[in-house]
């Protein structure tokens, strides 16, 4: 009985103070009307992961990087390790990025282009500058029944406290993680965690598993930075159209 009264008192006290200072909540995080962290805005990663997920020295047109993989190791099984070496050898032609295809998840999150997050209580959408890729993250709904092979997979989200957790399945085997041939099969399963750590930063973490390719799940993480430039806007990068633009409709000079 005494315990229950204490609980009631705590509940009343919690209601009486602004939600931003409720114990355990980071007061620096902007919040949506429903009290969830407001992730909306234009964001961009600043890693070199698209060139190479792992630590690497600089090369011409490749900035050096410390890598984004926990433990600096991708746990390929033996056959997959051989495949990765072959991918690396053929990377100039074989990387799906060279053909401007949708880059899949998580690669789209660290392509060196901005993207915009839109948020409502039941649905979060991401609109990317790179090849106008789109991710629709429906909250608290099940994945559609497979087998389905989508370039960007099927994303379903839920809030765990202030962290948006997104479960992504239904991939193709056609996308790579980077330009060095790190790859997966259609059995890829990605669990992403988006945790705002201030008004302008999100800690992004993805757990990657694929029993066809890896011996255990592994993790990548990096910050997403809010693009703070005045009037910032996601523009377009229609990779596959460059060099193919038509000029026939210009007036005769």
């Amino acid at each position: 009985m005494i315990l229950r009264s204490v609980c009631v008192l705590v509940a009343v006290a919690t209601l009486a103070i602004p939600s931003a200072v409720v114990a355990g909540q980071n007061p620096q995080i902007p919040r949506a009307a429903d009290g969830k962290p407001d992730l909306s805005g234009v964001w961009q990663a600043a890693t070199t992961a698209n060139w190479n997920l792992l630590p690497h020295a600089a090369e011409k047109d490749v900035p050096a990087g410390l890598g984004v993989v926990e433990g600096n190791e991708i746990p390929y099984n033996a056959a997959a390790a051989a495949q990765q070496r072959q991918n690396f050898a053929n990377r100039a032609q074989a990387d799906p990025e060279t053909r401007c295809f949708l880059p899949g998840v998580p690669r789209i999150m660290y392509m060196p282009f901005p993207f915009q997050i839109f948020q409502t209580p039941g649905h979060i959408a991401m609109a990317f500058e790179y090849v106008h890729a789109v991710r629709r993250i429906f909250l608290n709904t099940p994945h559609p029944e497979g087998p389905i092979e989508w370039w960007m997979g099927d994303s379903r989200g839920r809030w765990e406290g202030d962290t948006l957790v997104v479960d992504v399945v239904h991939f193709t085997n056609q996308t790579w993680f980077d330009r060095t041939g790190n790859f997966h099969s259609e059995g890829l399963h990605v669990v992403e965690r988006y945790t705002p750590i201030g008004p302008n930063h999100i800690h992004y973490e993805a757990t990657i598993e694929d029993p066809n390719v890896f011996t255990r799940p592994w993790k990548i993480s990096f910050p997403l930075y809010r693009r703070l430039e005045k009037g910032i806007r996601v523009l377009d990068y229609e990779c596959y159209a460059f060099g193919l633009e038509r000029t026939w409709y210009k007036p005769t000079e």
């Binding site: 295809f101 839109f118 370039w151 026939w248 409709y249 210009k250």
Partner: protein, 276 residues
């Protein structure tokens, strides 16, 4: 003004999903429709819609949609989605009409340079973005976002009074800025590139194209759409295009990924051609 027009059996796939076949002759109700409001106070027109139009030949509905079995319908000959000018034709300047003529005539079997840009998986431009396949209107705070099923293209329309981007930046679906006039969403689209057509028939424009759109919800399930195209480099006068959208009422429906360039062999060949 929106002219009374018979139901157009176009976009078979989308129309089937939307149940558009029951739409015949439906007219705006006498009492103006007031949509509910989103949490940030916008008229709420969110949902998945199918355009009732055609992107085959917007000037002549005898030719319906690419997605149907291609069969001309002489009863529709001469009918147009263009409500102004009154002749239903795009008012091309003489040089532009000349330039278009051979491409128009060869549209069924075009040489590579005359292939419809949309068929190459390029973004549709405006208004073709909403006159193509099924699309979804999403209204997060301060924005109207339109996701098109085809080629997973999207448009972001800020409705926060923000200004257009610098004029020299040209974009495939332009730079859209919207405002609500009563329950009508009015969108000013600038910064368009000169790479898109309005249909399959070489209906081109320059990078000076400006589009003014009106999205007017007339019932819970129907939006009247009008777009005025202005392009002093190519047309003799502004012209107006009008269609409507029907809500897809299938419970729980979602717009899913439809990749395009990834499976378009022709495009891949073009990308891999020597010297590119």
């Amino acid at each position: 003004m929106i002219r009374c027009r018979p139901f157009l059996p176009v976009l078979a796939l989308g129309s089937l999903l939307a149940g558009a076949a029951v739409d015949a002759q439906q007219e705006a109700p006498a009492v103006p429709y007031t949509p509910p409001r989103t949490p940030d106070g916008q008229p709420d027109i969110q949902g998945i819609y199918n355009p009732v139009g055609t992107f085959y030949n917007i000037e002549d509905l005898e030719y319906q949609s690419l997605y149907q079995q291609f069969k001309p319908n002489p009863a529709m000959r001469g009918r147009s989605l263009i409500i102004d000018p009154p002749d239903g034709k795009i008012p091309f300047q003489p040089w532009a009409a000349e330039k278009r003529k051979p491409i128009y005539e060869l549209h069924l079997d075009p040489p590579p340079d005359w292939v419809d840009p949309n068929a190459q998986c390029w973004p549709q431009g405006v208004p073709r973005h909403v006159n193509n396949r099924e699309f979804e209107i999403f209204q997060p705070p301060g924005h109207v976002v339109i996701f098109n099923l085809a080629h997973h293209t999207y448009r972001v329309i800020p409705v926060d009074g923000s200004p257009h981007i610098p004029g020299n930046i040209k974009l495939w679906v332009g730079d859209s800025r919207g405002r609500w006039e009563g329950n009508t969403l009015v969108v000013d689209v600038t910064n368009n590139n000169d790479q898109t057509w309005f249909d399959v028939m070489a209906s081109f424009h320059s990078d000076e194209l400006r589009v003014t759109e009106h999205f007017t919800p007339v019932s819970r399930d129907r939006i009247e759409y009008r777009a005025v195209m202005t392009d002093p480099k190519v047309y003799t006068r502004p012209w107006t295009f009008a269609i409507h959208f029907n809500r897809n009422k299938e419970p729980g429906v979602e717009v899913w990924e439809e990749a395009c360039v990834e499976a378009n062999r022709k495009n891949i060949d073009l990308l891999e051609r020597p010297g590119r």
